[in-house]
Symmetry: C2
Subunit: 177 residues, 2 copies
């Protein structure tokens, strides 16, 4: 696993931290050498949608930012404090693709332990075709399923989610990548 | 919403942070006044199981720790770096209830924006009945569905998940509490 440790200093008082196992815990945490505060580090959620047009085509975004600039992805991004999983997925779809959708249930929950993330995608219906790339996208386009850009997809979680939907997508896909 | 802000000092260099909106962002982040590092804060996942015995009874734990000490809960806890959602749920079930289970699919995904959490529960089958309370539990017991301790449950997400399973639990429950 990559080191996902983020603390060198205490977020409360600014003193140095040491990574060690606190009493009554069983893994190393960032503990402040001065005030003693324990800083926990946990996986983050990436939330997004697989937006379908009435004719069955799927909406993809071409990334304007790193990582994977220039490659195609489903609209998705980090879930924010103060929102639900569903609200986050709707917000990211609007921000990245300028698209308004209705959610049709959860399609995939994909853990990516190596980078400390969980990716959650909803199946969604486009409410209109007035989409447009947001600041993080170079382009937004609808693709027929036999013309998906499989060779230029940005992320494995996007590929897995597209493959699952292509196969019917009946059951929720829960997997680890 | 509660303030969920955790940073007063920079985790990289220890200088003070200010909360302001970075260029090309749309919400306030903790930004170091010295080294400029941006510290993102995102919701955390709580993962657990609803363990069922062969006779249909459900396993609950009575909490030995705050919050809600003394009340009954499903085995669950914070997902850790380096594990998948499923691995976290299995680990928490073992740690809190000393129980070995097989997962039978995701039962609920419950966002709790007020506290910046997402709770994910799997339906699970107990592989044996050799369970025992871990350090965070006062007691572990099997309950018939008509004898569940509804009045002394620890958390609303636990109640919602139990109610969903009691109602059949066919579809995945996605909700916000
Ligand atoms: Zn400190
Ligand atoms: Zn700094």
């Amino acid at each position: 696993m990559l080191s996902l440790r983020r603390y060198r200093h205490c977020a409360a008082c600014g003193a140095l931290v040491q990574y060690r196992v606190p009493t009554e815990d069983n893994r190393e945490r960032a503990i402040c050498v001065d005030c003693g505060q324990i800083h926990y580090e946990n996986p983050t959620n990436v939330v997004g949608t697989l937006p379908l047009a009435p004719d069955g085509r799927v909406l993809l975004c071409r990334r304007a930012i790193e990582p994977q600039r220039g490659l195609w992805t489903l609209p998705a991004g980090f879930m924010e404090l103060g929102e639900s999983v569903a609200e986050g997925a709707l917000r990211e779809t609007l921000e990245e693709a300028g698209a308004r959708v209705a959610l049709d249930g959860l399609l995939s929950v994909l853990s990516v332990p190596r980078i400390g993330q969980v990716h959650l995608f909803f199946r969604a219906r486009l409410l209109d075709l007035d989409f447009a790339p947001g600041p993080e996208s170079l382009d937004v386009a609808l693709f027929a399923w036999d013309q998906l850009p499989w060779d230029t997809l940005a992320f494995r979680t996007v590929r897995k989610t597209l493959e699952h939907q292509q196969g019917g997508g009946a059951a929720l896909l829960i997997d680890t990548l």
